[in-house]
């Protein structure tokens, strides 16, 4: 019980630093997962902190650890799916979000993010199918990502083209 309280306390301290000093938050969380390796929320927040730094590999690794520690929690899969979309890892995001939906079919946000992942992956048909069946969530974080992905899709900006353009510039 004391262990759980201490792990939770460490998490709260890290959250205070997350926006202004993400490196410090990461350092606190990294120490936390060594001390409390069974506390899934430390892994979740460490993954999210790495996502904020756009270190997608580490973000993915730690979010997967969180999912492994609490495999029945669909919210962890949803968070991971959202981060995978931000990191443009759409195929993996689709799989993760399908896992989340398998655990909780009624979560509208998971369906909406799944639609988004299909959109990012260029599968407009599946995107449309979901959008027609399930109303899009009014969550602003989702709406923001949808606007950016739709703009990218309409402009035909994909990662490969962008990378090659950046190199040639």
């Amino acid at each position: 019980m004391i262990n759980l309280f201490m792990a939770f306390w460490r998490l709260r301290i890290a959250q205070v630093y997350l926006n202004k000093k993400p490196d410090k938050a990461i350092a606190i969380l990294e120490k936390g997962i060594v001390k409390y390796p069974g506390y899934s929320f430390l892994f979740l927040h460490l993954g999210l902190a790495y996502a904020q730094k756009e270190n997608w590999d580490k973000a993915e690794y730690h979010l997967q650890q969180a999912c492994n520690l609490d495999p029945s929690n669909p919210v962890f899969d949803l968070f991971m799916g959202k981060v995978l979309i931000d990191g443009e890892r759409y195929e993996k995001a689709i799989l993760k979000l399908l896992e989340s939906i398998e655990k909780d079919q009624n979560n509208q946000l998971s369906w909406s993010y799944l639609a988004l992942a299909y959109l990012g992956d260029g599968d407009n048909q599946k995107f449309n199918e979901i959008v027609q069946k399930k109303p899009l969530s009014e969550n602003h974080e989702l709406q923001i990502r949808m606007i950016l992905l739709l703009e990218k899709q309409i402009r035909n900006w994909n990662s490969y083209e962008l990378q090659s353009l950046t190199v040639s510039e």
Binding site: H140, R145, Q153
Partner: protein
């Protein structure tokens, strides 16, 4: 701006609210005919050209505006931001970034200008910064996200059906 032009501008803004961009453009073109020397009308007309994705005409109107006596100088940063959008559409990211940054520094926090900044960030692979920029739109226009998604979904579906016809 004279009275007749002002009435048309107000009508145009009602159409913009309803996302009837083409109708708004017609009204603003009429407003310009009524008051060709109004720099304010030119600014709004340029914005309408941008929303109708007629970028060359928008630039022309903005250029024309600079030849007029500028009374509404508070609109200058917005015009910089919109010019930035045109450069983005033309693929000149560097120039787009300069103009949009200058606009935002001068507090021209229009949703479309913030979106332009976010798109530049997406283009450069700065995903988290793009998301942060997009979150700022909420303060100025909470319904922007919904309207924009609706507009973009329509556009994507038109684009898809055109591609299928080809």
């Amino acid at each position: 701006m004279n009275y007749r032009a002002s009435r048309l501008v107000n009508k145009a803004y009602l159409q913009l609210e309803k996302q009837n961009y083409a109708q708004a453009l017609v009204l603003l073109q009429q407003a310009r005919e009524k008051d060709p020397k109004s720099d304010e009308v030119c600014a709004y007309l340029g914005e309408a050209y941008i929303l109708n994705e007629r970028y060359d005409e928008a630039m022309q109107v903005f250029d024309d505006r600079e030849l007029l006596k500028i009374k509404a100088s508070h609109l200058n940063p917005y015009i910089k931001g919109y010019r930035g959008r045109v450069y983005l559409e033309r693929g000149d990211i560097e120039e787009a970034e300069k103009l949009v940054s200058a606009a935002i520094t001068a507090d021209a926090n229009e949703p479309e200008i913030l979106l332009t900044k976010a798109l530049i960030q997406v283009y450069k692979g700065e995903t988290q910064s793009a998301l942060k920029t997009m979150r700022k739109i909420d303060y100025n226009d909470p319904s922007f996200y919904y309207r924009k998604i609706k507009f973009l979904l329509d556009k994507l579906s038109k684009q898809t059906s055109e591609n299928n016809e080809c």
